[in-house]
């Protein structure tokens, strides 16, 4: 469990897939006590039919493959896990007991799921008026689309991003990375903190709606305003409306590239000092007219050079440049290594760390993803003061569990 400024905050985490678990991982990194409340099949079946999308931590599933799914494990550090069947009366009762001693409930179910479980905000609030319920449905809890099925990749084009992303007007491209998910995750953390600060001031809890759709639209706000002001925005490939040159340029080697951006004349002049075919007297409006030719000359220069050489040479001249890193390059990056960004949790697998660095937070006390139901006894005993006999009864009734059903 991480230390940090949120160490007094208890969070009941009902989230799944990416946006929700990433949000609670960030909160846990800030020290919050995050209790992952998991359904019997939340991690999949007891035996796996094949390999999960990103493999198993440690390379194989072993006897508990459901606890080893790497894409899942990556998002669960510093959390505790309780296996609790919310669909049973007894499980629902236990959950409401937990609500009574918690600060935040966060979920990214569909808009109707919490009501179907009879666990919507009205119910939670009755049990604990100070509770903050964060709901992250795809399209919010109201409005014409509230029951539409939403995933990051299908929300992305509805946000306006795809209107400006692609090689050309005729070639729209998606990020194919479900970009609305990390956007919603980071903003959900902002929302939790805003609600907590409000509660600090008023003593009252609240319901926080965090729509995947709206967070993506909001992130595109500057474009939406510019469009209303008459700007003609379109797909520019890797070009930039103001910076020239600005692109991704081929280097020596298969599929090796560098990104270069000239913010101003100083960058341009510095770059011309490296690429002597470029004219350092061209002002930005002239560079804009000669964009294609400039890109051609840069490619001629980069395409016979190693990407690392291009990066270090241009950085020495203070020109923004970065080679297009593949995964192994990311992890090996000298800068992030020096700052200890990747943390070897979960059988030595380096996990992306916390970009917030401050006194009182250290990855030295981080804990890896807990096995399913790993903290059942500890939490029921310490949070709810249950006796061993009461806990044993819950196990016998299969209200709590620590592995998926057969």
């Amino acid at each position: 469990m991480a230390n940090g400024p949120l160490r007094d905050v208890r969070i009941l985490d009902l989230t799944h897939v990416w946006a929700g678990p990433l949000a609670t991982r960030i909160l846990a990194d800030l020290g919050a006590q995050v209790l992952k409340v998991e359904a019997p099949m939340s991690r999949g079946p007891r035996t796996y039919p094949g390999k999960p999308i990103a493999g198993f931590v440690g390379g194989h599933g072993g006897e508990e493959p459901y606890n080893k799914n790497a894409a899942f494990v990556k998002l669960q550090r510093n959390k505790k896990s309780i296996g609790l069947d919310l669909k049973s009366d007894q499980g629902r009762t236990v959950f409401l007991d937990l609500v009574e001693v918690a600060d935040v409930v966060i979920e990214n179910f569909s808009a109707r799921a919490m009501s179907a479980l009879d666990l919507d905000y009205t119910v939670l609030q009755k049990r604990n008026p100070r509770i903050i319920h964060v709901a992250m449905p795809g399209f919010g809890l109201s409005g014409p689309y509230k029951d539409w099925v939403a995933f990051g990749p299908t929300v992305e084009p509805m946000s306006g991003l795809t209107h400006v992303m692609g090689y050309s007007c005729a070639e729209p491209r998606s990020t194919a990375m479900a970009l609305p998910d990390p956007i919603a995750a980071a903003h959900s953390v902002c929302a939790v903190l805003t609600a907590l600060r409000n509660r600090d001031a008023t003593g009252k809890g609240s319901l926080v709606e965090m729509s995947l759709h709206e967070s993506a639209v909001s992130a595109n706000g500057a474009w939406l305003v510019d469009h209303q002001l008459g700007a003609e925005l379109t797909r520019l490939g890797n070009a930039h409306p103001s910076m020239v040159p600005h692109g991704i340029y081929r280097c020596v080697g298969e599929d090796q590239w560098v990104a270069i951006a000239c913010r101003d004349d100083a960058d341009w002049i510095a770059m011309c000092g490296c690429i002597n075919t470029l004219d350092d007297e061209l002002a930005v409006h002239e560079r804009r007219k000669k964009r294609v030719e400039i890109d051609r000359q840069i490619t001629r220069w980069t395409s016979v050079r190693d990407h690392n050489d291009v990066e270090s040479l241009l950085q020495q001249k203070c020109v923004p440049v970065g080679h297009v890193r593949r995964t192994p390059d990311m992890v090996a990056d000298k800068q992030v290594q020096a700052r200890g960004f990747f943390v070897p949790l979960d059988q030595g697998t380096p996990m992306p760390g916390n970009p917030i660095k401050m006194d009182g937070i250290s990855n030295q006390d981080w804990t890896p993803c807990p096995p399913l139901g790993n903290n059942n006894r500890e939490v029921l005993s310490s949070w709810l003061d249950m006796s061993d006999e009461e806990i044993e009864t819950l196990y016998e009734q299969q209200v709590v569990f620590d592995r998926p059903p057969n």
């Binding site: 949120l6 905050v9 960030i26 990103a54 931590v57 390379g59 894409a71 905000y121 809890l141 409005g143 099925v149 990749p153 929300v155 084009p157 306006g160 795809t162 209107h163 400006v164 090689y167 491209r173 998606s174 194919a176 990390p182 956007i183 902002c190 929302a191 600060r197 319901l207 926080v208 965090m210 759709h213 709206e214 939406l224 305003v225 469009h227 209303q228 700007a231 409306p241 103001s242 600005h246 991704i248 590239w257 990104a259 270069i260 951006a261 913010r263 950085q315 440049v321 970065g322 995964t327 390059d329 990311m330 990056d333 000298k334 800068q335 992030v336 960004f341 380096p350 917030i356 401050m358």
Partner: protein, 334 residues
């Protein structure tokens, strides 16, 4: 409510926007130093600076007076030395945030960067675009705005705990922290994730398809296969051995894409969306900015705040990405 002073680039601007829209007093010290943006200065000012007090100055004494009164300082600079030149560590404010491309320590702390170079170094760019062409960068200010969101959360966490602190945020690390399963896929499955245009690749079909009047994006994770077959109105596909599992659909991806294309090309976006809603499959239309601004759902959820700019132009601005209700929302919205 806290007093916030914001200095520097777009990440600070976005962090300050979140504070301002959450009801805090925000002063932006505008030193005139911001990199070129993806949009006009006017648009960016309207989006980022609404609700803030703007003071245009580089006067060190005045800035010192402002920061002395602030609870939170947000300083966004081009490198670590620039942060040090501001003497941030000596300022008396309770919470001080330094946002830089690479953080305040490490061998590259003074390297220069923009959004596109950080996306390249952070592993995003390699995954975007077509396999046989140059990778695509992500246009816009994702890196800055997400860094601003992390800065906001860190500052609010410290304020919640009533603890002073100095916070160091690296934009590169923000990008890497928000990566999907890229690094674990490499370490645990020995696979370097690659790019495939609009195709998500490991879940089929997840791709963009052209239709009668534009494009739609479909994301059929395995649990949605049967509803997807109903959506296509091709029930025989349920029994088609080529498509019976996701692994087989991956193997016969081209055939399935062809079938999907043939159905969708004869339909409009609204017809397709209607079918998707009826069959409950995840699907989204590619919308223009006008369509986003006119979207009925967003309007009914009061997504927009109308504002008249200094030049008299009226614009719709998006509200905060979240809504906080103090009571059950049934009567608040719609």
């Amino acid at each position: 409510m806290d007093k916030i002073v914001e200095i520097g680039g777009y990440a600070a601007g976005y962090c300050g926007r979140l504070f301002a829209q959450s009801g805090h007093d925000v002063v932006r010290v505008d030193t005139g130093e911001r990199d070129p943006a993806y949009v006009s200065r006017e648009a960016l000012k309207a989006f980022l600076d609404g609700g803030k007090q703007i003071i245009e100055t580089s006067n060190a004494a005045l800035i010192r007076r402002l920061v002395e009164e602030a609870d939170v300082i947000i300083l966004d600079a081009d490198c670590a030395d620039s942060i040090d030149n501001w003497n941030l560590d000596e300022w008396p404010s309770a919470v001080k945030i330094a946002i830089t491309p690479f953080g305040r320590t490490g061998p590259h702390r003074n390297w220069q960067a923009t959004s596109s170079t950080l996306l390249a170094m952070g592993g995003f760019t390699f995954l975007m675009g077509d396999a046989d062409r140059e990778p695509l960068t992500l246009p816009g200010h994702f890196v800055d705005f997400q860094s601003g969101a992390f800065a906001y959360s860190a500052a609010q966490a410290c304020r919640h705990a009533c603890e002073p602190n100095t916070i160091d945020i690296s934009k590169l690390e923000v990008v890497m922290a928000l990566s999907q399963f890229t690094t674990v896929m490499w370490h645990c499955a020995n696979i370097v994730r690659s790019r495939h245009g609009n195709d998500f690749w490991s879940v089929v079909p997840t791709n963009m398809f052209e239709c009668k009047d534009g494009w739609v994006y479909i994301n059929i994770v395995p649990g949605f296969w049967d509803p997807f077959v109903a959506f296509l109105e091709l029930p025989e596909l349920v029994l088609d051995e080529r498509f019976i599992t996701n692994a087989r659909r991956m193997h016969h991806r081209e055939a399935l894409h062809e079938i999907t294309r043939n159905v969708l090309i004869g339909l409009t976006r609204s017809e397709i969306q209607l079918r998707a809603v009826e069959c409950r499959i995840p699907l989204g239309s590619i919308l223009t900015f006008d369509e986003v601004l006119d979207d009925e759902h967003l309007s009914r959820r009061r997504m927009w705040e109308e504002r008249i700019l200094e030049n008299g132009k009226r614009v719709k601005l998006p509200r905060l990405p979240w809504v906080i209700h103090e009571s059950s929302p049934s009567t608040d919205l719609v």
